[in-house]
Amino acid sequence: MMGRYFAIRIGRAALTIVLVVTFAFVVLRLSGDPALMILGPEAPSEVLAAFRKAWGLDDPIWFQYLDYFGAIAKGELGRSMRDGRPAIELVLERIPATLALTLPAFAFKVALGVPAGIYAALHRGSAIDRAVMMTAVAGFTVPSFVLALILVLVFAVQLGWLPSGGQDSWRHAILPIATLSLGGAAVLARFTRSAMLEVLGQPYIRTASAKGVPWRKVVTSHALPNAAIPSVTILGFMVGTLIAGAVVVESVFAWPGVGRLLVVAVANRDLAVVQCILLLVAMTMVTSNLIVDFLYGFLDPRLRTKGAHA
């Protein structure tokens, strides 16, 4: 029975990927002519025509679409229209650079946001709670490109401590990682705080105290396991953005990751590359959602039995 529960989930995940890829396919083809974008408006019309013919852009869109899915079924994700290299290769070689930013940022988000949220909830109304929440609201509302520019202004331009862009040393990674971490930590702190407050107001917390359980243990063994359930959702979402969650930050700091590649590829209507990245993003998102579903079952015994009966 458990198997059927997960089969449904996996089927739904596959459908999501197909929809994302289809949407991207259609929108990209309706929003500009790759031949013009790549060869430039001055290119002679016969060159443009030859380019379109070579990449199959003259075929009806449904034909291109079927062609595309046929290729995916064979494991081919197409070639870049700019240099003819396989799109997947271009994307894969950028992934380490992106992960070099997003993985440490993810660790910092969790290490900063979760304890701050728990602390704020446990000391609700205190000066520290208000300070945490104000910082969180600021971190939550300031767009990452603004935050990135502020950090550059302060640490690169004014103080001259850190480089403002590029990828030459580990010092170049500090500002982009800081930008990514701060925003994410703010989201996590807010979320953890409200999950924790919700749980602390539950009758079973009072029961635990009435049993004589010391407060510290009430928090660690009664409140945290319950507050972890909603927090897993947001953490799963953050894992889903590891591959392409740094588009803006990579652009600001000239960091040659997947995000930068995506921006350039979209600008050029380099169809295969954009589609390849979107497919990858959809797959990581969907996978992290699946992991979240599995974790729910692990964390919440109520879902486990419901799942078993589904």
């Binding site: 029961t207 105290s209 009435a210 004589g212 010391p214 009664h222 396991p225 319950n226 015994p301 039995t305």
Partner: protein
């Protein structure tokens, strides 16, 4: 006179300047069953939550709560943790949400055992099993590994009782233990409570708005109204002959089990808003017998006979009437 087991004096609780308890005095003797009745919001639960330090931090609490003569109000956390569960256990109204949904029954029961009993290793689990057996959970050994949602409401309340017994307490505070349950289950749980009380020699405080439940299960009854105790008496005397107009109103609203049928009475009006408490006696606006002096000062709880106290300016007359009856 022996030191009472629990003695609460002039307990006051306010939330953000709004008084919800306005000077409560209760004593509880060893092994006694005390009923605490009154409408919702009269302060029955708050009294005991405050006494055990279970109210939110922003509650302003004053007065005195003594356990065998020792002050526990505002005691250090470590001492309170020892009292809670170990000396005074509490069970609550809504069993469905009173147990932690992500922990097994075994973990929640063994936690209480580990805190208050000198048990180790397998003895803890054996005792947990014995307690589940005792409160009437069938197949206790296997059910220990189940989660709260796998039990019915009545069963969860039984588990709550088992958990309360785990610390061998001297007092069990049962806060509306049967309100959320079906009538037949209610009777079973009350039966179980009185059995374990006898077996363990515990005192019990039964908080309820159901007078019938209290009449059957308690030796003594205290009636609360708007954050104060307005009458306190042995259960049989209170139900036969209530003195405070509010207690009279409550009992007049109950259909008699025997004797001639009579018209049931209702108390007009509603409980006053704690933020807009009337001057003087809080019950005066709803009282058929209210007179001009009722609006001046709140009457204090004063003895009118052996074991009986009433907070009403008419109590003096009642006292004379009671003594008159006794003289005849």
């Amino acid at each position: 006179m022996v030191t009472p087991l629990v003695s609460i004096q002039d307990l006051r609780v306010a939330f953000g300047g709004v008084s919800v308890l306005r000077g409560v005095d209760i004593t509880l003797q060893q092994g006694e069953a005390l009923g605490l009745v009154g409408e919702s919001g009269s302060g029955k639960s708050v009294t005991w939550l405050a006494a055990l330090g279970l109210l939110p931090r922003h509650a302003q609490i004053s007065g005195s709560v003594r356990l065998e003569g020792r002050e526990i109000l505002g005691a250090p956390a470590a001492e309170l943790d020892h009292v809670r569960g170990g000396r005074i256990a509490m069970i609550f109204q809504d069993p469905a949400s009173a147990l932690n949904p992500v922990l097994t029954i075994r973990r929640q029961l063994c936690e209480a055992l580990a805190l208050h009993r000198d048990l180790q290793g397998n003895a803890v689990k054996a005792e947990a099993r014995r307690l589940l057996d005792l409160v009437g959970i069938p197949d206790a050994g296997r059910r220990l590994e189940a989660y709260p949602h796998e039990f019915s409401g009545g069963q969860v309340q039984r588990i709550m009782i088992a958990m309360a017994l785990a610390g061998n307490p001297d007092v069990l505070i049962a806060d509306e233990p049967t309100t959320a349950l079906d009538a037949t289950i209610q009777a079973q749980i009350l039966e179980l409570l009185s059995t374990v009380r006898r077996e363990f020699g515990m005192a019990m405080v039964l908080i309820s708005h159901d007078l019938g439940v209290v009449a059957e299960n308690c030796d003594r009854v205290a009636v609360m109204y708007a954050g104060r105790i307005v009458e306190e008496a042995p259960a049989n005397q209170l139900f036969a002959d209530p003195v405070h107009p509010y207690a009279q109103g409550l009992i007049g609203a109950l259909p008699p089990l025997d004797g001639p049928r009579r018209r049931l009475t209702a108390i007009p009006g509603t409980v006053p808003d704690p933020a807009k408490m009337p001057e003087g006696c809080a019950f005066a606006p709803r009282c058929a017998l209210a007179a001009e002096p009722c609006g001046h000062a709140a009457p204090t709880l004063a003895p009118i006979a052996n074991d009986r106290s009433v907070a009403c300016i008419r109590a003096e007359a009642s006292r004379r009437a009671l003594l008159g009856i006794a003289a005849e």
